[in-house]
Every structure is written in structure tokens, then in C-alpha cells.
């Protein structure tokens, strides 16, 4: 990986140079939760607010034109980044959760999912790809069904034919699991779903940040992801959808910008994407997300994916050397993203995270918004270390060292 200069990349992320309590350098291994932001992104936001701030579309003055340009060019960049056939297929939401809820709401409101229909998800989903479907099922009388997970942490496709049937109206699956790290074989599921006439939504929250994504070749109907996990700002998410499908769906939220015309008696609605963007959109956040995409693209998603793969392989090796440590999820870096969840005999995940934090190592402990996946593996919670373009082997070493220190502290292992 001679071309990949992780030290140069780290210089763009000022927080990585921070020291924490006890003068310990920060070892940030919680990027699956949220990524850090490079100076370039923060500066784009700052410049926008201080020089070009105005409302968009509705404002006809020069500042308004500049703000509209900043906002809409964020949309152009997202479209290019994910290979969307049209920029009008890119809808801005507040986060990935809203994007998934949007799909669930409009499929219900539009009568595509109704009583007796079936919705299929999986046991490894993030709560944001479970609860919206439970609520939809409750509102409509549809039935929620799900794929299981194998002992290795892979999607169990044995039931594919009996699970995804003519009754299925929508299959919603994660691309990369935020807990297990698994990368799912979406092609197989999409092919089956389309064969039976079901739509497919993909939760790409952990995929878009770390692997090259091309929605056109993926072939799903909806793809959701979130800005803050891809070196972008909080407060912005994306729903990509096929244009003809979007154009056939009713609105999600009502308000400014999403209308064609309004009278007290009735309203008609704008074409996608605006139909699904009620109110003042995340303007500065789109400028920031655009800068994030420029940043990732300059490094190259292929290179980022390769780095992620290498660092994950290294981490799996170092962690599995530790006695009493069990990785929950695929134990090898094959079809696997950069999140490694584990348990440690005799120490609760919170206590591990606390001890690690006292050594400057930031990881996440808990259910990672994936309670059913934890239940599947018979654990209430795990500790998760997750990596990104700026993660170094030295940081993995620091993690391993801190875990051993934790074992000594709690007199286990």
C-alpha cells in the first residue's frame, strides 16, 4: 500500500492529533458510529455560512443563486459518487434512518404494502431498518418476516425461496452489517425479489463510506445512507430511488418546496426529488457532503476499500491472539467491512470500553442498535472497534495492548 499515505490523510483530521485525559493520544476506533471530519469539509461548511448563506430555490438574488448552486452541486456530487443515472433520483433526508422511514411510509401511504402483504428484512439489521418496517406492518396489517444469520455471521439464504415469495412487496436489507461486519450477497436477494415482483431497499449506511458503490449496477430500487459516516456533516442523509418508482409514489412530508400548487382545498406535488424534500433542506450540510465526496474521491474509493480490508485483516489477527476474546461475526477479512465486535471472558463490554477509554482508545460498547443480532449470538452486548481511511496498524496495536491491560485490571485472562 505504498501509494496510500495514511499519515498524510491523518493530517487532514485535526481531532486525530488530540490528546485526552492523562495526556493520552486519541485512538479513534469508533468510525462505524460516526466518522471524523477532515478540515476540507469543515471549511466548506464555514465558507458557505460566512459567504454564501441564503435559502435555496425560492431566493432569486445573487446570494440565493450561490446557495442554490452549493446545495444542488452537493446533489450532483452524490449522484456521480453512487453512479445514479439521474441527479433527480437523489433525495436529501436528515439521516439514513429518515431515508428508510420515508420508504416505509410512502409504500404504505401509496398502497404498495397493505394488509396480507409481506415485508422481508433480516436478523442482522440496524434498528433503523427494523422498526420502520414493524411500524409499517402495524399500520397496514402486513406481515414482517426475516432472514436468519448463520453461526459465522452470514445472511442465511437457505430460506430465500420460501421467504421471498409472491406475497413479498418489499425486501429491505443491509449491505454491510454495522455489528458483524458482514458484507451481504445482495445480487442473489435482489434477483429473487425482482423475480417475484418485490421491491428492494438497501441500507448502505456502512457500505457507501467504505466500498465503491454503483447503484445502477447494483439493481436495487432504493438505497439509503448517511453523511456523517462518510466524513461528512451530521444532519444529512440520502435516499436514492429509481426515478419512475419515485415519480409514482405519494409525498412523505408536506410543506414548502415539495409542492406544485397549493390551495386550501387541495395541493399537487412537485416531481422527485423535491416531492420528498419538505421545508428548508440541509443546505450547508449538502455543501459539506459535497466536500466530503470530493475528499473521498480524491483518495479513491478503491484505495479506501483496500485500506479498510487490510486494516481489518490486521485487527482480526491481533485481536484473535488474545485469550478469552471471541469475535462475533466473520473471523476472516473476506466479504467483510471494517467493524469488529467481540466479547471478552469475564469483563462486561461497558467495562472494557471504559478501561480502553482510560488508555485513549475510543470504541463502542452495547448493542450497537442491533439487539436482534446480539440475541442471535446469545449476548446482550459486545465491544466494537471500527476502522476507517485514517486508521493505522499502530492504533490496532494500541487497542490490543489496552485489551490486555483491561484483562489485568479485572484480573481475568
Amino acid at each position: 500500500m505504498s501509494a496510500y499515505d495514511v499519515e498524510a490523510i491523518r493530517k487532514d483530521f485535526p481531532v486525530l492529533a488530540r490528546s485526552l485525559a492523562g495526556d493520552r493520544p486519541l485512538v479513534y476506533l469508533d468510525s462505524a458510529n460516526t466518522s471524523q471530519k477532515p478540515r476540507q469539509v469543515v471549511e466548506a461548511i464555514e465558507r458557505h455560512y460566512l459567504e454564501h448563506n441564503a435559502n435555496v430555490a425560492r431566493a432569486m438574488h445573487q446570494l440565493g443563486a450561490e446557495a442554490t448552486e452549493a446545495f444542488e452541486s452537493g446533489r450532483d456530487k452524490v449522484a456521480r459518487f453512487i453512479g445514479a443515472p439521474s441527479r433527480d433520483e437523489v433525495i436529501f433526508t436528515k439521516n439514513a434512518s429518515e431515508a428508510l422511514n420515508l420508504v416505509a411510509r410512502v409504500l404504505g401511504d401509496g398502497g404498495i404494502v397493505g394488509e396480507g402483504d409481506e415485508i422481508v428484512i433480516s436478523e442482522m439489521e440496524h434498528h433503523s431498518n427494523i422498526v420502520p418496517w414493524q411500524l409499517l406492518a402495524e399500520r397496514t396489517g402486513a406481515t414482517l418476516r426475516w432472514f436468519g444469520v448463520t453461526d459465522e455471521g452470514r445472511l442465511d439464504l437457505d430460506d430465500l425461496e420460501s421467504l421471498v415469495t409472491e406475497r413479498t412487496k418489499i425486501v429491505s436489507l443491509t449491505w454491510v452489517s454495522n455489528m458483524l461486519g458482514t458484507i451481504n450477497p445482495l445480487d442473489t436477494v435482489i434477483a429473487r425479489a425482482h423475480q417475484v415482483g418485490a421491491l428492494v431497499a438497501v441500507d448502505a449506511s456502512q457500505a457507501v463510506p467504505q466500498i465503491p458503490v454503483d447503484v445502477a449496477s447494483l439493481g436495487a430500487d432504493f438505497v439509503a445512507f448517511t453523511g456523517h459516516k462518510m466524513v461528512g456533516p451530521t444532519g444529512i442523509g440520502v435516499l436514492w430511488g429509481r426515478y419512475d418508482l419515485l415519480a409514482s409514489l405519494p409525498p412523505f412530508l408536506g410543506g414548502g418546496e415539495m409542492i406544485e400548487t397549493v390551495s386550501m382545498e387541495r395541493s399537487t406535488f412537485a416531481a422527485p426529488p423535491h416531492r420528498f424534500e419538505a421545508g428548508t433542506p440541509p443546505i450547508a450540510q449538502s455543501a459539506g457532503l459535497g466536500a466530503a465526496i470530493d475528499y473521498l474521491s480524491a483518495i479513491g474509493m478503491e484505495n479506501i476499500a483496500a485500506h479498510e480490508q487490510a486494516i481489518t485483516a490486521y485487527a482480526l489477527g491481533r485481536l484473535q491472539e488474545i485469550d478469552g476474546l471471541t469475535v462475533v461475526g466473520p473471523s476472516e477479512a473476506v466479504d467483510r467491512g471494517g467493524a469488529v465486535s467481540f466479547t471478552l471472558d469475564g469483563v462486561h463490554p461497558h467495562d472494557i470500553a471504559q478501561l480502553l477509554d482510560s488508555r485513549g482508545v475510543a470504541v463502542r460498547a452495547g448493542h450497537h442498535c442491533a439487539k436482534p443480532a446480539h440475541r442471535r449470538f446469545g449476548v446482550q452486548s459486545t465491544t466494537r472497534a471500527s476502522f476507517y481511511l485514517y486508521t493505522t496498524e499502530a492504533e490496532i496495536d494500541a487497542l490490543a495492548e489496552a485489551i490486555r491491560y483491561t484483562q489485568q485490571y479485572f484480573k481475568v485472562g
Binding site: M60, A65, T68, T261
Partner: protein
């Protein structure tokens, strides 16, 4: 940005005395288009005579640009075949979306070349195109309806 480039004398003349305004019969299709950003509206009818544009009549409410543009549309298209008219539209739209980099062809666009300046004002491009998009929509509706009639007749 120079407003004089936008408000050419020709545009203001068309605005004050719009050509062909008012809704007329006969027509094969009527559409109502709005610019959701600002609320400009146009109701537009097309009357085709075979594959030829026979009349375009309209009732528009909006700014000088959208009004003048409908007036110029009226001057340019009636008398042409639908195919020729669509080429004029393409040429007009190309100038509008050209951000000031596309030189308009006076032989094709006549008074329409006065709109070249609009291309430098992205927020006004939709105003200039409102009537044209309405005409395109109405025409394709009219053609679809007559295809339908033809095939109905053939089916008999």
C-alpha cells in the same frame, strides 16, 4: 451581472404587447403549467393541422421573461411542422441552459435571440422555458390523442 442583458428592449416590447395571448378554439390539448418556485402560471392550448402547428393560444400570469417568452413562442412556431417546431424548441432550450456560452442562431430563433441574456441568470431560465415546456407537453398530448384516434379508427 448586467440586468440590461436580461431585459432587452425586444423582451420588454413583447411583455407590454404579447402576441397571440388569449385562449382560442379549436384545440386538441390544453395544459396548465406552473413554476413551483415562484408561482408563474400558464394555461396553453395547441391546435394541430395534421403534423403542422396551426395555433398556440395561452393565458399566462407571470414576470416579463415568462410572458415575453410565450409571445415569442407564438411568433415562431405556428406554421411550422411539429418536427421543425421541436427543433426550434431544442435550439431555444440549448441557449437557455448554456450559461451564456451558447450563441443563439438568429435564423432559427428570430426575436428569441433576445433571451440569450437570460442564460446568465440561472434563476430566470425556468421563467423563459415555462411556455415552451407547456407547449411541448400539450403537443405530445395532442399527438398521443390523435395516434389513439388513428389506431381506434384502424381497429374498427
Amino acid at each position: 451581472m448586467d440586468v440590461d442583458a436580461l431585459y432587452q428592449e425586444i423582451i420588454l416590447d413583447h411583455y407590454k404587447n404579447p402576441h397571440g395571448a388569449g385562449l382560442r378554439v379549436p384545440y386538441e390539448a390544453e395544459v396548465h403549467h406552473v413554476n413551483p418556485t415562484c408561482g408563474d402560471e400558464i394555461t396553453l392550448r395547441v391546435h394541430l393541422d395534421g403534423d403542422r402547428v396551426s395555433d398556440i393560444s395561452y393565458d399566462a400570469e407571470g414576470c416579463s421573461i415568462s410572458q415575453a417568452s410565450a409571445s415569442v413562442l407564438y411568433d415562431l412556431l405556428p406554421g411550422k411542422t411539429v418536427e421543425e417546431a421541436m427543433r426550434v424548441l431544442d435550439s431555444f432550450a440549448e441557449v437557455m441552459h448554456g450559461r451564456g456560452q451558447v450563441t443563439p442562431d438568429e435564423d432559427v430563433l428570430e426575436d428569441g435571440i433576445a433571451f440569450a441574456g437570460v442564460a446568465q441568470f440561472p434563476a430566470r431560465v425556468k421563467c423563459a422555458l415555462l411556455g415552451w415546456m407547456a407547449w411541448k407537453d400539450a403537443t405530445s398530448q395532442a399527438l398521443a390523442a390523435s395516434d389513439q384516434t388513428l389506431s381506434d379508427e384502424r381497429g374498427k
